[in-house]
């Protein structure tokens, strides 16, 4: 079944008209690929920008069956459209949890592999792909190949983080970690400035999970005021998580509800709340990992024009100077974002387009408004100067030059893509923007 729909990424910018085909079986995907000149797979549509947008979309969420589970190895085999939420619902009560989870569970396994997502434990566990034992990939010619580190290793490394451009992930074997509790022992550390939070990351580097929220509107001495949250799986409390409260943003907010004033207010309140709660507490897994999943469609808060998330990483050696320069630029411009997340990554993996590298990553939300793109181009130059890169899953406006300078594995990736998809039949608006100049010449 193919439908014409107006769709967008999570940032609700840009919105495009697309033919959307529901992928219910591998054979209906093969059929669709053979008929369309090009297309891109899309999971839950939670990547912010245009990486899962195109005129022709394979909507993978209907392909959402769990196929088997091996409790001794902790390996679950599931179709690519299975959401992380479903895996948690099924396996947390049995004492298993995702070995790597990003900040939302409302994404699909296929999307998690294609973006090679990371979580609060990246410094210890690596990217999502580190818990992917293998996956089956449908290529442009309809062939299905098994990819793992041993089998078709290059294709495995190109597909993990490859944004769906090598083929369509059909099913995967995922390794889960054993847990004994559905709770997290959390510690909140209030940090007065950037130096304090960077030092705190080092102090708590032995803790499994860590992430910091940073107030990017602060200038001068308080620049980089932050709240570091670290956590460890609890050893008691039971495996059945409490039912979370669910809120929803029922309509698109009008333009300008989120402005520097309201964001300043929010940030002050948020910092105050956490300063009061400093210290240790025990929180449910949902509250620790997925605070925003509790608010359905929170992307509507940014109004009709939508928003984007700007996430970059700077190498560890340049981290302090780079963050200082970039945070100063953001604060000076008053372009604050109320969700600014800072994290220290562990070592990079050897995938050609995976985002994380050892260093500091900062993610900021910005409402789309005049002047924003020019401002972000300036930030891009800083990121490039400090040897960093920008996350494709969040990107909607980066230039091919900035992309190329951040991803030295690009040439190798394009070679592998050319071998399995010579006609470039898997393409998104993002890949057309960033890669086509490069691979067609």
């Amino acid at each position: 079944m193919v439908l014409m729909q107006r769709i967008s990424g999570w940032g609700r910018y840009p919105q495009v008209k697309a033919c959307v085909s529901a992928a219910e079986t591998p054979s209906c995907i093969a059929d669709r690929i053979a008929r369309w000149k090009d297309c891109i797979a899309r999971g839950s549509g939670k990547s912010y920008g245009d990486s899962a947008l195109s005129g022709r979309i394979l909507w993978m969420e209907p392909l959402n069956r769990i196929l088997s589970f091996d409790a001794t190895q902790g390996e679950v085999v599931c179709e690519a459209g299975v959401s992380l939420a479903k895996l948690i619902d099924v396996f947390l009560p049995r004492g298993f949890f995702l070995a790597v989870t990003p900040g939302t569970k409302l994404i699909t396994v296929g999307g998690a592999i294609a973006s090679d997502v990371h979580g609060k434990n990246h410094h210890r566990a690596g990217c999502f792909s580190s818990c992917v034992n293998w996956f089956d990939l449908m290529l442009a010619d309809g062939r299905i190949v098994r990819c793992s580190r041993e089998e078709n290793g290059d294709l495995f490394r190109a597909t993990c983080g490859g944004m769906g451009l090598t083929g369509v992930i059909l099913k995967a074997g995922i390794r889960l970690q054993r847990v004994v509790s559905a709770w997290i022992d959390q510690r909140i550390v209030y940090c007065r400035d950037l130096d304090a939070v960077l030092a705190a990351f080092d102090t708590y580097s032995h803790v499994t999970y860590s992430v910091a929220w940073i107030d990017c509107l602060k200038t001068g001495k308080a620049l980089g005021r932050a709240v570091l949250m670290v956590g460890e799986h609890a050893d008691s409390g039971g495996l059945v998580p409490p039912q979370p409260r669910r809120l929803s943003v029922p309509f698109t907010f009008p333009e300008g509800v989120l402005n520097p004033m309201s964001i300043r207010l929010f940030n002050a309140g948020y910092a105050w709340m956490h300063r009061r709660n400093e210290g240790e507490s025990r929180v449910p897994i949902d509250a620790f990992f997925y605070p925003l999943d509790g608010i359905e469609q929170w992307n509507r808060m940014y109004g009709p024009r939508g928003f984007l998330q700007y996430q970059f990483v700077l190498p560890r050696s340049e981290g302090a100077d780079g963050l200082y320069a970039i945070l100063s630029a953001i604060a000076a411009e008053g372009m604050g974002s109320f969700l600014a997340v800072l994290k220290l990554f562990g070592p990079a993996n050897d995938h050609f387009l995976s985002f994380p590298m050892e260093g500091y990553t900062l993610a900021l939300d910005f409402g789309i408004r005049p002047g924003l793109f020019a401002f972000l181009d300036r930030l891009d130059r800083l990121v490039v100067r400090f040897g960093g890169r920008i996350y494709l899953t969040k990107d909607v406006r980066m230039s091919p030059g900035v992309f190329r300078s951040g991803y030295p594995g690009l040439d190798r990736f394009l070679e592998i893509k050319a071998a399995v998809d010579p006609q470039n039949r898997f393409r998104s608006l993002q890949s057309s923007r960033l890669m086509e100049g490069a691979c067609m010449c």
Partner: protein, 244 residues
């Protein structure tokens, strides 16, 4: 308890299978439908998630000669049979194209009768269990937007009421389900009024509750009974000029 679900690829059927697997242990499920590729994945999903035996079988409602052989091959014989196959079709097309009209009538009514008589004979003999069949509120009053579908479902519901009457003596239950607007594959490209639309997992839960309470006819959700009562109160000479 052994349960057979035919037309098991529909969203409502999958949700019913999940609901029964979750709440009615010990249970074994047989899912049957035309597209076995999709269905085998569904069966494995239910097996893994709920730790119950669940198998997939091929079944084509329109291939009526195959029905006896199919039921013969189901082992163990089910106590409960849930009939979920249906075909909404394209009303406009059906008005001009007999093939479409026929597919609507045969899937929703003729195929159902063919299959349910086979099931009824077996259950009546074993004096156990029963049948749950999905009708539709569209079968309560003919509207220009889907009267082929509505007529077939209306016929099915009359058939079910007769069957219920007949099987009552042998202690076999027949439950008629009348769902309103469901947000399913079938209705995805229709513009349905949001507040009137029910999610299939919600509907499955309501059907399961009604089944537990021994209901004969259940509207899903309950207030459709009153909406339909209102719609049926409209005199025909007014109704014929309306766009409902």
């Amino acid at each position: 308890m052994h349960v057979l679900i035919v037309g098991a690829n529909s969203d409502l059927a999958v949700c019913l299978a999940e609901t029964f697997a979750r709440f009615e242990k010990p249970i074994s499920l047989v899912l049957a439908s035309r597209n076995i590729e999709r269905l085998s994945a569904t069966a494995r999903d239910i097996e893994v998630r709920f730790n119950v035996p669940c198998t997939a079988m091929t079944f084509d409602a329109l291939d009526m000669d195959s029905h006896p052989g199919f039921y013969e091959s189901v082992h163990p014989k089910p106590e409960w049979v849930i009939l979920c196959f249906g075909y909404l079709g394209d009303q406009r097309k059906a008005e001009q194209d007999w093939g479409e009209a026929r597919a609507i009538l045969e899937t929703n009514y003729v195929g159902a009768v063919r299959f349910l008589e086979i099931v009824a004979a077996d259950l009546e003999k074993r004096r156990t269990g029963g049948i749950i069949a999905i009708g539709s509120v569209a079968g309560l009053r003919g509207r220009k937007s889907n009267y082929h579908y509505g007529a077939a479902k209306a016929a099915l519901m009359v058939f079910l009421s007769g069957l219920r009457n007949r099987l009552h003596a042998s202690g076999v239950r027949v439950m008629t389900v009348l769902p309103g607007f469901l947000a399913t594959k079938m209705t995805r490209n229709m513009d349905l009024p949001g507040v009137l639309t029910t999610r299939p997992e919600q509907a499955a839960r309501l059907i399961h509750l009604a089944w537990k309470r021994g209901k004969d006819i259940v509207y899903v959700p309950w207030w459709w009974r009153w909406i339909l009562w209102l719609i049926r109160m409209i005199p025909e000479n007014r109704f014929k000029a309306m766009n409902l």
